[in-house]
Symmetry: C2
Subunit: 329 residues, 2 copies
DNA sequence: CTGAAAGCGCTTACAG
DNA sequence: CTGAAAGCGCTTACAG
């Protein structure tokens, strides 16, 4: 690869002048400019981002920390970010924690060392250590999916969405409604969705039998098992079950199908996430679409704005969602 | 952020010596070493990758070019790569072409300018311009999914997999078998899978009516429409259809379900890809599992080996696949 | 065992 | 309008 020095000598000018035409800064006479551009084109010269970054302290790279890269949600999120980011000349440096908490912190550090211009974190659980680390980071930062005070956030309205799903069940005449959740250390998915469900039930004066409430993890098998436990342990079986993720809901449906429960007549089911799967299982699953791609885009816009404004703006954005009413309810 | 200069002065040594303990190179007396380490720990100093890269010409970053980041396949591929790469201290810089061909070439250039240590390309269609560009790149390079001469490749055995699927149909007694493919400019998916199908049919002396062969694109809707055309246009309806991707197969199944065809008794269907969806639709889809995560891992290993060996090895690896026989056949 | 100096490839005051 | 020089934060011969 050629360097600016070689270009300069080929064009009989100084590096300074070449730099000026490269960056369109300062005055350069038309004649000289043309001469330099000609040399650049002939040689196919491209300035080293590396060297440039060292000098300017800008890398045009955004670090993105994800709990996993295998899921649809992550894919859509990243696609949305990339859309916005690449337009502005930024690229994404990926950091995949594989759900290991302490890696989130390591990556925060690592990305900073790599001098990324900003960091977007798809947050799962927030703990004090992480929050503290984020605050002392002092570079543009956006968290998606979980509220963290004093930093920019893109949030989903988990509470209201859960209330809406619960309302939907109730409006369809269900009174005995079960719930499959996840650990509440995940505030958004575990805590808020659960609270939305219980608050709505309470508002309508409906009680929830203890055996109707189960906890699982983020996969299909877990929903299958949770459904099985609910049926086994209930005195009176619920007529509907709200699962906090599509995968849990799909596992539940699978169990019901295998045990000859008709859906929705014997049991109604709803999930959250609008996975592609949800639309193609039998019956199609009622779910809420969080529009992850849009979330990714918004996060990217936020980080770009922070970079522009020198890291001085904190914005909180709560995204809309769409309730997709399908045949499972 | 502190710099090596400050650390040096705090420890009362030269930058050279600090650099030596940082990199474990050359001799440093125990006493001095301890003093320096102490300062490093106290300050939390971490050397700038930026500056280091400029000097050493190594960035510890691998560029990954993908046709899309939204699909499961991409997610798994990247997860596999990241697994291997992060272990070796590398990170992934993402380049998403969104299926725009000319972006592949742009990114090749861009990634080189960013001084990545290597590039992995999840190839879709290979054209001469791209191949030429790759060859003049002169940095470690691996292509996944498509054969490119003179460069390292991770390949799927599309031809044999297609033959196997076709054989499976035939062994189940099918004689009239249809085919839903994609454009043959995608050599792997379009050309080789088609050839495997036709060769196998020919070997068994089975003929294929023209109307049984349709072409779609990479989504579910397209499979739906292709299936519809096959049924509409055939003199004699086939009893089985091989779709070259799961999405096409799932679209076909949807059409059949809507039109009251029983699967597999009225029509057997198979796909390729082992998407999560394939296992949860009704009936579960027979498909082939290419183990994308493994492909990603292997690609990463290959690129690492090339970096180590100074870009002098060209390896071609064809991966195994698993035929997943499920209820749709 | 340790340090002074050059250099990686750029940009940016400063001077003219 | 143009250039000499310093500097970004490191590493690496070279010398001692």
């Amino acid at each position: 690869m050629a360097t600016i020095k070689e270009i300069a000598s080929m064009a009989n000018v100084s590096r300074t002048t070449v730099s000026r035409v490269l960056n369109n800064s300062g005055y350069v006479s038309e004649e000289v400019r043309k001469r330099i551009i000609k040399v650049i084109e002939e040689t196919g010269y491209v300035p080293s981002q590396q060297a440039k970054s060292l000098r300017t302290k800008k890398t045009k790279v955004i670090g993105v920390i994800l709990p996993t890269i295998k899921t649809e949600t992550s894919g859509r999120l990243v696609a949305g970010m990339d859309d916005e980011l690449s337009e502005a000349g930024y690229q994404i440096l990926l950091a995949n924690t594989n759900h290991e908490k302490q890696k989130e912190i390591e990556f925060l550090q690592l990305l900073k060392v790599r001098q990324v211009d900003g960091i977007i974190l798809a947050a799962t659980n927030v703990n004090d250590l992480l929050v503290e680390k984020i605050k002392q980071l002092d570079i543009p930062f956006v968290a998606i999916g979980q509220e963290i005070s004093d930093v920019s956030n893109i949030l989903y309205d988990d509470y209201q969405a859960a209330k809406d799903i619960t309302s939907l069940f109730i409006n369809k005449g269900h009174q005995q409604i079960g719930f499959i959740g996840v650990d509440e250390s995940d505030l958004a998915v575990g805590m808020w969705r659960k609270k939305g469900f219980f608050d709505q039930m309470e508002e309508k004066g409906l009680s929830v039998e203890e055996a109707w409430v189960e906890q699982g993890v983020f996969n299909i098998q877990s929903g299958y098992e949770a459904m099985s436990r609910i049926i086994q342990n209930s005195n009176q079986t619920p007529t509907a079950v709200f699962a906090v993720t599509d995968r849990l809901a799909i596992g539940a449906i699978r169990w019901l199908n295998e045990h000859s429960y008709a859906i929705p007549s014997d049991m109604a089911i709803a999930g959250v996430g609008a996975s592609e799967l949800s639309n193609y299982i039998t019956p199609p699953l009622t779910t809420v679409d969080y529009e992850n791609e849009k979330a990714g885009k918004e996060a990217a816009k936020l980080i770009l704005r922070q970079i522009e404004k020198n890291n001085k703006v904190i914005e909180k954005i709560t995204l809309n969602y769409r309730l997709l009413e399908r045949d499972s309810v």
